[in-house]
């Protein structure tokens, strides 16, 4: 049963036989790491609270589906126009209380452009719809075109009644009742032939997918600092003095990072379903994606912990690096909305593959076989990161 520790302790990787005590040593390292995380209340804020704060703030209100944000100030008589604008698929209407606030929002580019509409439309003369837009902004003409169409539809009815009163000598009441009888059918209909039913939308499900990936990775990097701490305190050195081999210690550290990443993933999985009703899709496929991405997070954590020398550095760099990679990998906004060059860059970051897989499963009802490609890429990332990290850490441990 007990293999005598005859081999040098610094033997690493495949050639070192894992000792009988290894599983216990690994378990001990994992449980210590988990206890340390549980005791760090501030750390728990980032793991337990922040992901949901982000989903809460940015999940439901996201307007990144390609529609144009239009600010509208409408008084109670302009209801018909407002309704028509809200029904327009090209526009995402945001209500404003007064023209000044709207103008400021246009200046700040919070909306593409704005419309100020005041009734009544039925009186003779021309109702003015004020168009507030920056002619220099590229999206302005597109929004203007959409608004123009909506206005033209409204205009058709009002012109008919005006022509009836001014040219045909009808009373407004007569014109109104004649107009009321007109069948509500389009003169020129648009027959939509939609080629891809599964076009992209962004809602709570997608926000949850993004944040799972974002936070598993950030928590991983932050956890990498624990490696530095244990190096600094000499814990690793002391562990080497125990019967645990360097390989066992590395395995233990990796298992600990993995357990924490998995814990983070489970928290987002469960919390997003529970609090926001997020749907994740086929459990088998989700499990595969999550496990592989947690391995990627583990590799990144180990590598991060191996290349930096102080916890100060680690804590200063972990968050910006995690956020920056998340941005590049499309975990803060859909990659579809960024320029092609940034999309290409995003494919070099593991986040984008995990998100693609989660979206295929969660938003499009895909199964395991639909995400084999992204899974293979994630496995590649995990293998590469873990190998380099093990090699680096092996060197450091040997030096210690």
């Amino acid at each position: 049963m007990t293999a005598a520790p005859t081999r040098p302790r610094t033997d690493l990787g495949g050639q070192a036989p894992v000792r009988a005590s290894a599983p216990r040593a690994v378990a001990a390292i994992v449980s210590t790491a988990l206890r340390r995380v549980a005791r760090d209340r501030v750390g728990l804020f980032f793991i337990v609270v922040l992901p949901f704060l982000v989903i809460l703030l940015f999940g439901a209100g996201a307007e990144r589906d390609g529609s144009l944000a239009l600010g509208v100030v409408a008084d109670q008589d302009a209801g018909a126009l407002l309704e028509a604008l809200e029904a327009d698929p090209a526009l995402a209407v945001r209500r404003f209380d007064d023209p000044d606030t709207l103008t400021r929002a246009v200046r700040r580019r919070e909306v593409v452009a704005g419309v100020v509409a005041a009734g009544p439309h039925e009186a003779a003369g021309t109702t003015r719809v004020r168009w507030i837009g920056d002619p220099a902004s590229e999206a302005t003409p597109a929004a203007r075109l959409a608004v123009q169409s909506v206005v033209a539809e409204l205009d058709a009815r009002l012109v008919a009644q005006r022509v009836a009163t001014s040219e045909l000598g009808l009373s407004p009441e007569q014109a109104h009742s004649a107009a009321a009888g007109i069948a509500d059918r389009p003169t020129l209909a648009v027959d939509q032939d939609v080629t891809d039913e599964q076009a992209f939308t962004f809602g709570v499900d997608e926000s949850a997918q993004h944040n799972l990936v974002l936070f598993v990775f950030i928590t991983g990097l932050t956890g990498g600092a624990a490696l530095i701490e244990s190096r600094r305190l000499g814990t690793a050195r002391r562990m080497l003095a125990s019967p645990a081999s360097a390989a066992t210690i590395l395995l233990g550290e990796a298992a600990a990072r993995f357990a924490i990443a998995l814990g983070q993933a489970l928290i987002v999985l469960a919390g997003a379903s529970l609090f926001f009703g997020a749907r994740w899709g086929d459990p088998v496929a989700v499990t595969a994606v999550v496990l592989l991405f947690c391995l990627v997070g583990t590799g990144a954590a180990m590598l991060f912990g191996s290349v930096l020398s102080s916890t100060d550095q680690a804590s200063a760099i972990a968050a910006p690096l995690g956020i920056g990679l998340g941005m590049l990998g499309g975990a803060l906004w859909p990659l579809e909305t960024v320029p092609p060059a940034m999309q290409a860059l995003g494919r070099a970051v593991p986040h984008s593959w995990a998100i693609e897989a989660l979206r295929e499963v969660g938003s499009r009802g895909g199964g395991l076989t639909d995400v084999l490609g992204p899974l293979a890429v994630l496995a590649g990332f995990a293998a590469a990161l873990l190998t380099v990290a093990a090699w680096r850490l092996g060197v450091t441990l040997r030096r210690a």
Binding site: V42, R107, D155, V163, Q174, A189, V190, D193, V194, W333
Partner: protein
């Protein structure tokens, strides 16, 4: 004061030698601002290519072609003429066009006969190209709808007989619009995303740069440096002042660097320089007051670091540093000092005069005063050996 300056200079040298300060003050804010600006900068860019085939050859086909030409002239769309429906379909499938429009044969005949006609739109679900193409057709449809409405009202009210209804067509076409869209151009709006995310990262990272001050005091106390300083014949206050000076200097240089890099490299405008400077100083002071308050309430350096990052990340998310909040939650942004400062900076960048600084400045100052009022009586703890 001399002692304070010496401490400040010494502090600053140490800070710069430690690479983590360089990350927080320069690499991270510039890096994230560049990513944010590049990724989201073209979110507004609209490039829509539409394939179009007219199998009708009548008034409907001409009207749609004319509307497309108008939209192309305005720079909204690029139109690719296709021979027939199949060619349009091929262009959409090959993604040479974002959407395709086909006016089928007989559309004009149907309209003339008082029957509804149809224009085919080939598109992907949810794409802006399809929405724009739809808007073009709806604009055209409205012209025909106008004629139909006028004719129907005339006939239904008995003012004209169905046989004479044709006389109403020119009346309908020539009538002044009942609703007119009047342009009110807004000049000098925020020119690009860099003009938002430069300031956004500035008001975010300033908290980390400044927050390093109180943290280093606690560390020095732990390491015993403070005790040795206390043995020197210098007033304790000069230790506080010295540390404050060093982090202020670093914070202001950090913001200035971001200002310079985003302006020169990424075309950001920051607006009236005096306004930017005033707000930069104000938010730096607020960050100092708030992080000092946190430090006086915590017991260990680890607590200070942890609490500071919790507070700063929450403030940054609420304050809009990673993008504006949905409209309903926007008041939350203005309930944070960084959100107020960002609002002021963005309004400056959007061409506002110095007056746009006043309200944010007052708000930020209020936060500073309140935080200082609580922190200062307790600040002695930070420098007591």
């Amino acid at each position: 004061m001399r002692a304070a300056l010496v401490i400040a200079a010494r502090d600053l040298r140490g800070r710069l030698r430690d690479r983590s300060a360089l990350v927080t003050a320069f690499a991270a804010p510039i890096g994230l601002a560049v990513i944010l600006s590049t990724a989201l900068g073209s979110a507004d860019d609209v490039s829509v290519t539409l394939a179009f085939a007219d199998a009708d050859g009548g008034q409907v086909g001409q009207a749609v072609a004319q509307a497309l030409a108008g939209a192309a002239e305005d720079g909204v769309v690029t139109v690719v003429e296709a021979a027939d429906a199949e060619a349009v379909r091929a262009a959409v499938d090959a993604e040479e066009a974002g959407a395709g429009l086909v006016v089928p044969a007989g559309a004009s005949g149907a309209i003339s006969a008082g029957q509804p006609a149809t224009v085919q739109l080939m598109r992907t679900a949810g794409g802006l190209s399809g929405d724009i193409a739809e808007a073009v057709v709806r604009g055209v449809a409205a012209q025909f709808e106008r004629v139909r409405q006028v004719v129907e009202v005339g006939v239904r009210s008995g003012a004209v007989t169905p046989a004479d209804a044709g006389e109403l067509v020119p009346l309908a076409l020539d009538a002044d619009p009942a609703v007119r869209v009047v342009d009110e151009p807004v000049r000098g709006s925020l020119p690009n995303a860099a003009s938002y995310f430069g300031p956004a990262m500035a008001v975010f990272f300033v908290f980390f740069v400044v927050g390093a001050g109180p943290q280093s005091l606690l560390r020095q106390r732990k390491e015993g440096t403070l005790a040795r300083l206390a043995a020197a014949p210098i007033p304790r206050a000069s230790i506080l002042v010295g540390t404050a000076l060093s982090v202020f200097a670093l914070a202001l240089v950090s913001i200035a660097t971001l200002w310079l890099v985003m302006s020169l490299g990424f075309g950001a405008t920051w607006g009236h320089p005096a306004g930017v400077v005033v707000l930069a100083v104000a938010i730096t002071l607020a960050a100092a007051a708030i992080t000092t308050l946190v430090a006086t309430l915590a017991r260990t350096e680890e607590q200070v670091t942890g609490w500071t990052s919790v507070i700063v990340f929450t403030l940054a998310l609420l304050g809009g540093s990673f993008g504006t909040l949905p409209p309903a939650l926007e008041p939350l942004s203005l309930a944070t000092p960084n959100g107020l400062a960002l609002r002021g900076l963005v309004d400056l960048a959007a061409g506002g005069g110095l007056d746009v600084v006043l309200v944010p400045l007052a708000g930020v100052a209020a936060f500073t005063v309140v935080a200082l009022a609580v922190a200062l009586p307790r600040a002695d703890r930070l420098v007591a050996p």
